[in-house]
Each structure stands twice: as C-alpha cells, then as structure tokens.
C-alpha cells in the first residue's frame, strides 16, 4: 500500500543518480524495450519511484509512462489535474506530480519535463525532485511560470487507514514514513513491543528504531534498527504468521488478472522467497494455454527471468522457476502476453 511519503522517500534515494543507462532506464527498458535504455528519463524516474514505493495505481493511473504528455493526459482523464496557476501551485501537496512547459502556455501538449513536488514554498513556487535534469536526479526550485500543471495522485494515505494484520514486506529505515511504517508500528505493538510516547504515528523515528533493535536482539539478528527482510520474518513469527521452513505452506501468494499487456507488480521481502510457481485452470475451462512474461528485481536491477512462460494446466499442474539470488530478490513483475480470460495464480516460497 503506497503513500506520498513513500513516493518521496523513493525519489530521495535516487538523488545524485546520473548518466544512462542507469537503474531507472534499465528498469523501464526491462518492460518496454531496449530503446529506452538511453532515452530521456524524467518520466521513467516518476514511474520507477511509483512502482518501487507501491504507488503505481495512484501515480500511474493508466500504466507506466515515459512520455510526459500522455502522463499529464492520464491525470486529466481521471479529473486529478490542476493547471499551473500561482494559486494551484501554492496549494500543491507533497507527492504531486509536476509537469513543466517552459514557454508559459500551460498547454498539456507542450509539456516536456516532469518531477515530483517535495515541498510547496509559497509565492507560486515549489521545491521538486526531478530525474534527468542535467542528466542527474536533483532537487530543484520551480515557479508557476514554468509549471503547466499538477497531477494529484490518489495516494492511499489520503484514505482511512486500516492495518492488514501482517508485518509489512518493504524494507524500512529511520526517516521513512507512511503506510508501511504505520503497519510496522502496529505489528510491533501487537507483538508486544513498546512505543510508549508516539505510538503508531507513521513516522520511523528513534522510538520505532529502538523497538526494532529490541526485536532484532531478541531474535538473534544483527542489531541495526533497520527493518529488513530478516527482521520482517522475525516480526511475522512474533505475530504467529507463516514461518520460513514450514512445509507445504506458501509464504506469499496471489493472482494475476487477465488483460493483454497488463503488468502486475508484486513486492516481496528480499531473502524470503527462492522460487515462484504458477497455475491456471484453462484446461478445466476448455481454454488454450496462456502466456506470461516474468521479470525479477534484485540488487542488480530488473532482469527478465522468463521472457515467455507458457501455462497450461492440461500439460502441467504448476510451472516453477527459481530466482538467481534469493538473498537479494525483492520484487517480481508479471506481464500477460495474451488475452486468454483465465486467472493465473501464483505462490512464492
């Protein structure tokens, strides 16, 4: 579940990134083709931050974008577009997507650059984080005179919060905020750890870090105060959930909806899965085999694990493959290659 804070935390991690190809262009190219490896990457950066922070649905209402005009039009189509007037810029929210037109026309068709708002400064100005500004990711200060408009993502943290009851999967560290931290704090409290002053406030401050250190010490882990995959497993054990080593129990599972070209990102905690398996019931339904493309993300970036995986329940009940580095793999993206109307189920363990 995403948040504006999570989006900005991901953008901050890219500050100083430069040159191309880079992590961001490689990520986009892994799904859309090598012609993007050296292309202008401002909107690829927004796409990357959104996907990595669990905000794809809010920031990319019609899917991945590298072309800024289409991205702005996506926000117009869902009525979450605000033209670049001084008043609207003063009302900008952290996490808004800011689109630029250097000729002061406020015309969507003239937009050629994009970033994310980190702070509204007043006086018709915002402070942004932008990819591909001077071929780097930098903080900038921009005024309404060069802002064509703002897209306002429908972030989850704008909605009533409800804890899922699970330890969060994402890696979290001091300074982070948002729904993931809120989930972590609720899980810590449920597991009996103490947050006596601030409680579950959504900010990963010293109190939360101290509770994480206690958890790590109790579990015999490296005491870092950073909530990583091993800590997530320990917290899930403390909550009484599935444990690594349980036999015949998938730790993570879900489904991939039908729809040609549809991409379903799956965030998984690094180090807690070694392989993923797929099943379909197309044989039962009398449908032809379905095909998916599987990309895996790890510390080295995205790679296509299976450019084309054929799934056919009549021939094989489950198709498995193993990730190349179980310790660092932390995400999987599945793209439907045909429009066979059958749900693909997956489980990872």
């Amino acid at each position: 579940m995403g948040s504006a804070n999570g989006m900005l935390a991901e953008a901050r991690r890219s500050l100083g990134m430069s040159g191309r190809p880079n992590t961001i262009t490689r990520d986009y190219a892994s799904r859309h083709g090598d012609e993007f490896l050296r292309a202008a990457w401002c909107d690829m950066a927004v796409t990357y931050w959104a996907r990595r922070s669990g905000n794809a649905g809010a920031v990319l209402p019609r899917g991945d974008r590298a072309y800024t005009v289409w991205h702005a039009q996506d926000f117009q189509k869902i009525d979450r577009w605000f033209s670049g007037t001084t008043a609207n810029v003063d009302d900008a929210k952290p996490g808004d997507i800011v689109f630029f037109d250097w000729n002061q026309t406020n015309q969507v068709g003239a937009i050629d650059h994009v970033g994310v708002v980190e702070k509204a400064l007043g006086g018709g100005r915002v402070q942004t984080i932008e990819g591909n500004t001077g071929d780097q990711c930098l903080r900038r200060v921009r005024s309404s005179s060069v802002i064509a408009g703002l897209g306002r993502p429908d972030y989850e943290d704008d909605k009533p919060y409800a804890w899922s009851g699970e330890a969060p999967a994402a890696v979290l560290r001091p300074g982070d905020g948002g729904t993931g931290v809120h989930d972590l704090q609720n899980a810590l409290l449920r597991a009996g750890f103490q947050l006596p002053v601030y409680g579950a406030d959504g900010d990963y401050g010293e109190e939360t870090a101290a509770a994480v250190r206690v958890l790590q010490r109790n579990a015999g882990l490296t005491v870092s105060g950073i909530y990583d995959a091993a800590t997530a497993a320990a917290l899930q054990r403390a909550l009484g959930g599935p444990q690594e080593g349980d036999e015949d129990v998938p730790y993570f599972w879900g489904s991939v909806p039908a729809g040609k070209g549809r991409i379903t990102p799956i965030s998984l905690p690094g180090g807690l899965f070694k392989s993923i398996g797929f099943t379909v019931d197309n044989g039962l339904a009398g449908l032809p085999p379905t095909k998916v493309r599987v990309a895996v993300h790890d510390a080295k970036g995205w790679y296509a694990a299976k450019p084309e995986l054929v799934l056919d329940s009549a021939a094989k009940s489950k198709v498995w493959f193993s990730v190349r580095d179980p310790q660092s793999a932390d995400g999987i993206s599945i793209q439907r290659l045909d429009d066979v109307d059958v749900e693909v189920a997956w489980d990872a363990s």
Binding site: A66, T133, V141, R142
Partner: protein, 58 residues
C-alpha cells in the same frame, strides 16, 4: 482505448520521448535565481553538488 491503439501507443512512445521529452534547456538548469540559496536553507550545504540532506525541520 482499444487494444490496437494501446499497442500502437507503446510502439510510438519511444519515438515521442526521443523527439519531445527533456529537449528544452529549462529542463536541465535552474530556472530560479535563488535556487541554490533556497536549497541550502532547506537541506544544508550540497555534497558533491547534490542537495541530498534531510530537511532541517523534518
């Protein structure tokens, strides 16, 4: 948008990015004269030219 249009859009996107995105000099330079001063006040002195610090009040 039909599936045909979606496929065509995907094919066109790379060409449109090449032609239109980040072409103006404004995308690559400061457009506010006090940008460096403002960012220094917010995040402290830059490291290797990058304002990567935490906001003082955050």
């Amino acid at each position: 948008m039909s599936e045909h249009e979606q496929e065509r859009d995907r094919a066109d996107e790379a060409a449109l990015v090449e032609r239109d995105v980040d072409q103006h000099p404004g995308a690559h330079q400061a457009t506010e004269p006090d940008e460096e001063q403002t960012l220094t006040e917010l995040y402290g002195e830059p490291e290797d030219g990058i304002f990567s610090g935490e906001e003082a009040s955050r």
